[in-house]
Structure formats: structure tokens, C-alpha cells
């Protein structure tokens, strides 16, 4: 019965998406153009990180001659990566089928792993009725090219053509080529900004984007250091919802409730498991698959109310590291000052999370009249709805005057907040801004304050040096003038160097981090 429900969901996924485009960020041609680029780039980055190689990603977008009913513009988009590639036999399923997200796993990931990319392909197919092309090779295997469509009703891949381009290839790669109807002109700013921010949070990636007007945007990596891959972990007992619990129960191979709990959850030993089962008023040796809906709800309530679980394991998270964050900020924004910190792991609603914050000041940064806040969640930039985000609220409530800044709007200062978690508490399905969870807000505030203290002493040093320099320059101007006047009065010009050597300014302010 439960098995059957899961089955039904899978079959309707493509259809479901088709009917709910707006949910996934495809609600209008501009937004769709941006979302498609973004989804394919994120898949490409994921593929590279699995390969543990610095990503090398190219994105080419051109206007196609093809038109559908003379409506919008059709674009051809090609995204290539040097990631792990695919075994040719896996290609049809990987690209031609919409999966319900892999929710059995608990892992920090960029997005709903793989799903977004397929949605992009599906959108292209819906708007142009044109097939997409996937070319890939893995580990010295053959290079194969697939021309495919997705059967929306049946959620099945349709392979139109399959060609072997080479019998062996030295490198692994994947290249996806697709057509879609969109609007690049208005999406350009967002796409470029997305890539730039991605470059900040992925300083170890090379990315080249050539837009439909032939304008190249190149983001060059400045480091070879790649942060470790996030690890998979079991659910924390307080972090599951009823839906997940029912699915776990319907698929488990365990035979008793106690082993079910110790097998599928972290922080649960057999003693704890027995206590939870007793709290639920259930038989410890009951077969999980035989639980009634009523009993499942009782178990769920017990998991929620049991007070003695250890906090979830945060070691599975993979933040960027302050060094890499600073690196990314420096290379893309070229500030005079940058400071990043990583907060210790913390927990909200049984989900572990780590906050990384940074502040950048001066250099090529300019005041914009707005708060310059860069937000990242699990290493992807968030570009929309900044003013609804928890980080924005925190930025607004910090008394920046105490840190030597007049205001964030009028100073060349940028804030960065990166949150990694097994579950990012997005406030909407659009996944663009993060809910104001007090635990998260607290860590963001502490992180920003640490950076701000560093900035304060930097500014103090800088302003002192500037004052000393200004004073020296004033002395120089006055003694030049005096020297001139004395020459006029005596016929001889006294040198200014000797006297100025007595008012040398202190050495120039040390640039931080360089």
C-alpha cells in the first residue's frame, strides 16, 4: 500500500512539474532563463566536486534561428564540465527522468540534487519541443552522445539518437546542450551576478560564460584547494517529519522497532531506542512494517518529545572555510580589507548547521546606497528577496557605528553570510531567502560581529595612518610656501627636505591578509 504511493509519486513527477512551473523558478521567460543557467551550472559544479577536481565549467548561450509560432526567442545553451562524467548506460535515466528528490539521504547539497537540471531540460522541451543532447565520458571510457526527450506522461526517457564519438577518452566530462524559449536581455544582470557570486563561494572553479551577444565573462580560479565533500548521514530522530518516517518504515529491512530506530537514526543506541518505544507505548520487538498509521503517529510523537537525544552530528557538514571565503571575495571584489570567520556548529530544530560570515571593505568596493549583502546557502548564492532574509534582519540590527562605520549604505562595505546545513530553512518554495530562526540569526550576528571588530581595528589603523599622511602633506605644503616667500624676501630659497624629515608619517597601513 505505502509502496504503491511512492510509485505513484514518481510517475507523476514530470507531470507535476509541468503543471507547477512557478514553484521551481520557471514562472516567466526571464526568470526561466536565469534558472536554467543556474541549475545546469550547479549540476556541473556538483559533478566536479564528486571528482575532486577544480571545476572547469563553460557556458555558451546563443540565439537560435528556430522560432516556435513566432513567439519568444529560442536560445541554445551548452554547459560543459570536467566532472566525473557518466557511464553511458546511466545517461537516459539520469537526464530523462524526473526523480522525486532523494530524500532517504541526509546530506548537505547544493540543491535538490540533480532534480533542478532535469527540470531545466523539461522546460526546454515544453517551450521548444526540441530534443536535448548529452555528451559524456567517464574515466577513460568511451565518449557517447545522446539525443533525447522526456516522455512527460510516463516520466520516461526517449533516446532519439545515440552515437559513439570515441572509443576512449583521457578525461571525464559531461556536456549538455539544450534549447529553450527565454529572454536573455533582462536576465543578463542576474545571470552574471549569479556567476560572480558563485565564483566568490567557489574560488577553486574556472568558469567561462559567453552570452548570446558574444560577450565573454571569465571567472578564473585563484586556488586549488577544494573543501571536503559533505558526508551522508542518518537522520537525527528530531529532524524527521511524519512523511519521512512513514517512508522509512515502508522500506526498512529491519525486523524490530528497536533495531529500526538504531539502524536508521543517528544518536540512537538500543537503550535510547527502548526508552523511545516505551514512551510511544509500543512493543519493542514489533515489526516496523506492521505498524498501523495510529502507531506510526505515536512513534513520531515519542521521537519528538523524547528529551535526551544528543545533538545531531555536525561533522558531516562541509563549510567552505574562512580562508577560501576570503580568497573568493578577494579575487572577485578586490577589497582593501576582508575578514571571514567560521562559527562552531550549532543546531536548529534537530538540523546541524554552520555559519560562515565575512566582511569586506574598501578597495574596488563602492558604496551603493544599499546594504551590500551576499548570501550563500550550501555554497549557492541567493539572489532574490534579500530584504526578507534572516541575514538582512541581523545586518540591520547591528549597531555599525560602534565598529567605526557610519552606515552600511554609505560605506564601501560588503557583508557575506554562508550557511551550510542538511536542511536550509528556506521560507518559500522559491528557495531564495532563509527564515529568521533565532539559532541561526544568533550565529550570523556573532560571526558578523567578530568580523566587524577586526574591521574596526583595521579602520582605526587606516584612519590614523591617513591622518598622519594628511598632516605630513599639510606640513609639506606650508613649508613649500614658506620657502617660496623666504626666497622672495631674501633671494635664497631654503630647502624644505631637512625640516620635513622631522615630520615623516608612520609607514603606510598594512593591508590585511596580503
Amino acid at each position: 500500500m505505502a509502496e504503491r504511493e511512492v510509485q505513484l509519486e514518481q510517475i507523476s513527477a514530470a507531470d507535476f512539474f509541468y503543471r507547477n512551473k512557478a514553484l521551481a523558478g520557471f514562472d516567466n521567460p526571464v526568470r526561466a532563463t536565469y534558472t536554467i543557467v543556474r541549475e545546469l551550472v550547479e549540476n556541473a559544479l556538483d559533478a566536479c566536486e564528486l571528482a575532486r577536481r577544480p571545476p572547469r565549467i563553460t557556458v555558451f548561450m546563443t540565439r537560435s534561428e528556430e522560432r516556435v509560432d513566432g513567439r519568444g526567442t529560442i536560445y541554445r545553451l551548452t554547459v560543459s564540465d570536467n566532472g566525473i562524467g557518466l557511464d553511458p548506460s546511466d545517461v537516459p535515466a539520469a537526464f530523462g527522468k524526473v526523480f522525486v528528490s532523494s530524500k532517504y539521504r541526509l546530506m548537505q547539497s547544493r540543491g535538490t540534487f540533480g532534480l533542478g537540471g532535469t527540470m531545466a531540460l523539461l522546460y526546454g522541451q515544453i517551450t521548444t519541443n526540441m530534443p536535448f543532447k548529452v555528451t559524456t565520458a567517464r574515466d577513460g571510457g568511451p565518449v557517447e552522445e545522446f539525443e533525447m526527450k522526456i516522455d512527460i506522461k510516463r516520466n520516461e526517457p526517449i533516446v532519439l539518437k545515440r552515437r559513439r564519438l570515441a572509443d576512449a577518452c583521457d578525461e571525464s566530462f559531461t556536456r549538455v546542450e539544450m534549447h529553450f524559449e527565454g529572454s536573455y536581455g533582462k536576465a543578463r544582470r542576474k545571470i552574471v551576478e549569479y556567476l560572480r557570486q558563485t565564483a566568490i563561494v567557489t574560488p577553486y572553479a574556472d568558469m567561462l560564460f559567453v552570452d548570446p551577444d558574444g560577450v565573454p565573462y571569465l571567472f578564473v580560479r585563484s586556488t586549488d584547494v577544494i573543501p571536503p565533500l559533505p558526508r551522508e548521514a542518518k537522520f537525527h530522530p528530531k529532524g524527521v517529519d511524519l512523511e519521512i518516517l512513514m517512508r522509512l518504515i515502508s522500506t526498512t529491512k529491519t525486523r524490530t522497532l528497536v533495531t529500526f530506530l538504531t539502524t536508521h537514526f543517528q544518536r540512537v543506541g538500543s537503550k535510547t531506542a527502548r526508552e523511545v518505544v516505551r514512551l510511544a507505548g509500543l512493543d519493542p520487538i514489533k515489526r516496523p512494517r506492521n505498524l498501523t498509521d495510529e502507531e506510526i503517529r505515536a512513534l513520531f510523537r515519542a521521537l519528538r518529545s523524547y528529551p535526551r537525544f544528543l545533538p545531531p552530528d555536525a561533522s558531516i557538514l562541509s563549510p567552505l572555510s574562512p580562508e577560501l571565503l576570503e580568497e573568493g571575495i578577494k579575487k572577485e571584489l578586490r577589497p582593501e580589507f576582508v575578514k571571514a570567520v567560521q562559527r562552531p556548529p550549532s543546531v536548529f530544530e534537530a538540523h546541524p548547521f554552520i555559519v560562515e560570515t565575512a566582511l569586506a571593505y574598501g578597495g574596488e568596493l563602492r558604496p551603493t546606497g544599499e546594504i551590500q549583502l551576499y548570501r550563500f546557502a550550501n555554497r549557492i548564492p541567493l539572489l532574490y528577496d534579500v530584504s526578507s532574509d534572516v541575514s538582512y534582519a541581523v545586518a540591520r540590527r547591528i549597531d555599525w557605528g560602534n565598529y567605526g562605520l557610519r552606515s552600511l549604505e554609505e560605506e564601501p562595505v560588503a557583508l557575506f553570510v554562508h550557511i551550510v546545513s542538511t536542511k536550509i530553512p528556506f521560507k518559500t518554495v522559491g528557495k531564495e531567502f532563509i527564515a529568521n530562526k533565532p539559532e541561526i540569526a544568533r550565529e550570523i550576528e556573532l560571526g558578523l560581529r567578530i568580523c566587524a571588530r577586526e574591521l574596526k581595528s583595521f579602520l582605526h589603523r587606516k584612519r590614523r595612518a591617513e591622518m598622519a599622511r594628511a598632516r605630513y602633506e599639510a606640513f609639506a605644503r606650508y613649508y613649500e610656501l614658506i620657502s617660496e616667500v623666504v626666497e622672495d624676501l631674501t633671494g635664497e630659497r631654503p630647502p624644505v627636505e631637512k625640516i620635513l624629515s622631522k615630520v615623516r608619517p608612520p609607514a603606510g597601513v598594512k593591508k590585511n591578509g596580503s
Partner: protein
């Protein structure tokens, strides 16, 4: 004559410049020592008025930025003043302000407003120990004298002060060089206001009674005070005739004793000069006692000035204190125009003027007219 003066001024300025040059060559911060015109350096006596007797000295130091600006400022100012002096040009304070409003001085001496350059003029006077007129910075001339006085001024012409127009001789900005010839007057009456003074001239009083009339037009200018002092030194009795008001007794006292702000300029006080009226006695029991209805009320500003007067060093003599207390008590003042209230007709006015002057000159200076 003018040339000799310029040579002396140039010598002093060059000395300062040479000292600064030596300091700079040695890598020493230059400094200039000068006596500030603060109260500690100003003495007062009834006999001499305000006298500048430096005990305390200040330094303008090239080691502190603010002080360095002052140093550059007075050096630049003296250089430009000397340039004017050597070329026979004068300049006003406003001119001095404008010679700082040049591109070259942006970021250094370019002034925010004229107060900045004005205060530097005073500093230059203190540093050089010379009045600003000596370095060609003059005020617009103010003050005239009418009467049988023969003099030769900078223009080289010999002039009789009752034969140069209806206001008489306009006292030049720098009267030091004036050489007096024959002096045919028994006294000079320095009148605060232009109107009554002109009336006296128009009525022929100077000619008929052998006096000169000096027109101050408000507070006596430095040049007028210097000029009166010179006449006083020549033995000419000087009488001062002003309104009876808190401001006017300051005007009178400044002619007699000089003022604090120009105490460092010698030769401006005329201690032999006598204040002849209008006095409180004139109003209470004397000449104007029947015309008290013509008095004016004191304004708030007037009253405030009267209160301040009680503390002025040059108004400490019991006479001035008494006079001033009258303002505080009666809150009234009398103006010289009160003569008009007494005599709407021209014929009577002359009689009144003469009667008043005869009485007062006799009382205060023992002079009969």
C-alpha cells in the same frame, strides 16, 4: 621720507625671513616670538591711557600644524605688504583678504572669511611692533578737521584746514608724516556726530571764535586719534563732545586713553584731551536741565553696554563711574541733536552752541572763546 620708512620695515621683515631660512637650513623648526596683546601685557594709567608693556611672550611654532599656518600666513602677509609699500600702494583689510584668495594658496592660506586675515594683520603688528599702516594696510579714511591749521602732508602740498572744502581737511590714513605749520586756533573740539559738527561749521563758529572742529563720525578712527594726539603734542587743547550714552563715553575715553584692541599701537591716546559733554550734570542741573523731555530711552543693547562699561579699565575713574551709573539708574540718554529741540531756528542755535562751548571750554580747559 616714505622711502626711509619702507627701508626700515623691509629690514625688520628680512630679519624675520633670514631667521626662518637659517632654521630651515639647519633642520630646526622655525619659531617667531612676539608679545601678544593680552591683558597681561597691557597696563592702564590715567596719565598715559593704555600702554603696551610686554611681559609675556608667545611663540608661533613651525612644529605644530596650526601654528605653522600662522607662521606661513604672517610671512606671506608681510611679503605682500612689503611689495605694496615699495611700490607706493596701500591696501585695505578687504584687499589683504583678497590677496589670499588666489589659486596658489588653495590647501594652505586660502581664507574661509575675512576674520581669518584680519586677525593675522593684528599678529603682524605685534610681530613687527608697527601699526598696520606702516606696512601699507590702511582703513578707509574717516575723520575731518576744520579750522585755521596749516599743515603739509604726504602729498607735499601745504593746506589750511579751513580752506579745503566744506568739511575741512580729511585726515589721511597715516597722519604721522604731517608737518604742522601755523596753528591759529585756541582749541580743537572733536565732535562725535557729523550733523551738529557740520552745523557749527556752517554757522561760522570756527572762524568767529578761533576754534577747530574735528568730525569723528562715530568711534574715532585710528588715524583721527593719532592726528588729535599730534595736535595735543603741539600744545593745542583738545575737547571732546559726544552724546550722553553708554557708547559715547567709550568713544570719548578711547580718544583720551586708546582702546584695549589697539593698545599695542603707541601714539593713539591723547591723555591731555578733555571730555566736555554731554555730561549727566548738563542734563540734571545744567545746560539741558529744562529739556529732559527730549531725552531718549536706553535700548536693551545700550543697557548691556552700560553694564559692561563698569568693568572697562579706562572707565574706572570715579568721574566715569558716576556718569555710567546714571545710565543704569535713569535708563536714558541724551543726544547732541538736543540742541535742535532747544532751538528750531538757526539764529538761536548758533547762540546756544557758542554759549555751551564757551561754558564748557572754560570749565574744562580754561579757555575763553
Amino acid at each position: 621720507m616714505a622711502h626711509e620708512e619702507a627701508v626700515e620695515v623691509k629690514k625688520r621683515i628680512r630679519e624675520i625671513a633670514l631667521k626662518i631660512k637659517r632654521d630651515m637650513e639647519m633642520g630646526r623648526f622655525p619659531k617667531i616670538r612676539y608679545p601678544p596683546n593680552t591683558s597681561g601685557n597691557i597696563e592702564f594709567s590715567e596719565e598715559e591711557g593704555y600702554v603696551f608693556s610686554p611681559r609675556v611672550y608667545s611663540e608661533i611654532r613651525g612644529s605644530r600644524l596650526k601654528s605653522l599656518k600662522t607662521l606661513a600666513g604672517i610671512l606671506y602677509g608681510m611679503d605682500k605688504a612689503l611689495d605694496h609699500l615699495e611700490n607706493g600702494l596701500t591696501m585695505t583689510k578687504r584687499d589683504f583678504y583678497y590677496i589670499h584668495k588666489i589659486e596658489r594658496l588653495k590647501g594652505t592660506l586660502f581664507p574661509k572669511d575675512q576674520r581669518e586675515t584680519d586677525s593675522r594683520i593684528v599678529l603682524m603688528e605685534l610681530v613687527l611692533g608697527l601699526p598696520r599702516e606702516a606696512i601699507s594696510i590702511t582703513s578707509d579714511p574717516r575723520g575731518w578737521i576744520y579750522g585755521d591749521i596749516e599743515l603739509t602732508d604726504r602729498s607735499g602740498r601745504t593746506i589750511r584746514a579751513d580752506q579745503v572744502g566744506e568739511m575741512g581737511y580729511s585726515v589721511p590714513p597715516r597722519p604721522e608724516n604731517i608737518k604742522f605749520g601755523r596753528i591759529g586756533v585756541k582749541a580743537v573740539v572733536a565732535v562725535e556726530k557729523v550733523g551738529p559738527a557740520k552745523n557749527m561749521i556752517e554757522l561760522g563758529i570756527p572762524e568767529e571764535h578761533g576754534i577747530a572742529v574735528a568730525i569723528l563720525k562715530g568711534q574715532a578712527s585710528r588715524s583721527m586719534r593719532r592726528f588729535l594726539r599730534m595736535l595735543s603734542d603741539k600744545g593745542v587743547p583738545v575737547a571732546i563732545l559726544t552724546d550722553l550714552s553708554p557708547w559715547s563715553i567709550r568713544i570719548a575715553a578711547t580718544v583720551v586713553y586708546n582702546s584695549i584692541s589697539s593698545a599695542h599701537i603707541p601714539g593713539l591716546a591723547a591723555p591731555e584731551a578733555r571730555f566736555i559733554g554731554i555730561t549727566t550734570g548738563d542734563v540734571e542741573t545744567g545746560f539741558f536741565s529744562d529739556y529732559r523731555f527730549a531725552l531718549e530711552p536706553l535700548t536693551q543693547m545700550d543697557l548691556k553696554a552700560a553694564q559692561d562699561n563698569m568693568r572697562l579699565p579706562n572707565l574706572q575713574h570715579p568721574f566715569w563711574q558716576e556718569e555710567n551709573r546714571w545710565f543704569l539708574e535713569k535708563k536714558k540718554k541724551a543726544e547732541l541733536e538736543i540742541f535742535k529741540a532747544m532751538s528750531p531756528s538757526a539764529r538761536e542755535l548758533k547762540g546756544l552752541f557758542v554759549e555751551y562751548l564757551r561754558q564748557k571750554l572754560d570749565e574744562n580747559l580754561g579757555i575763553a572763546i
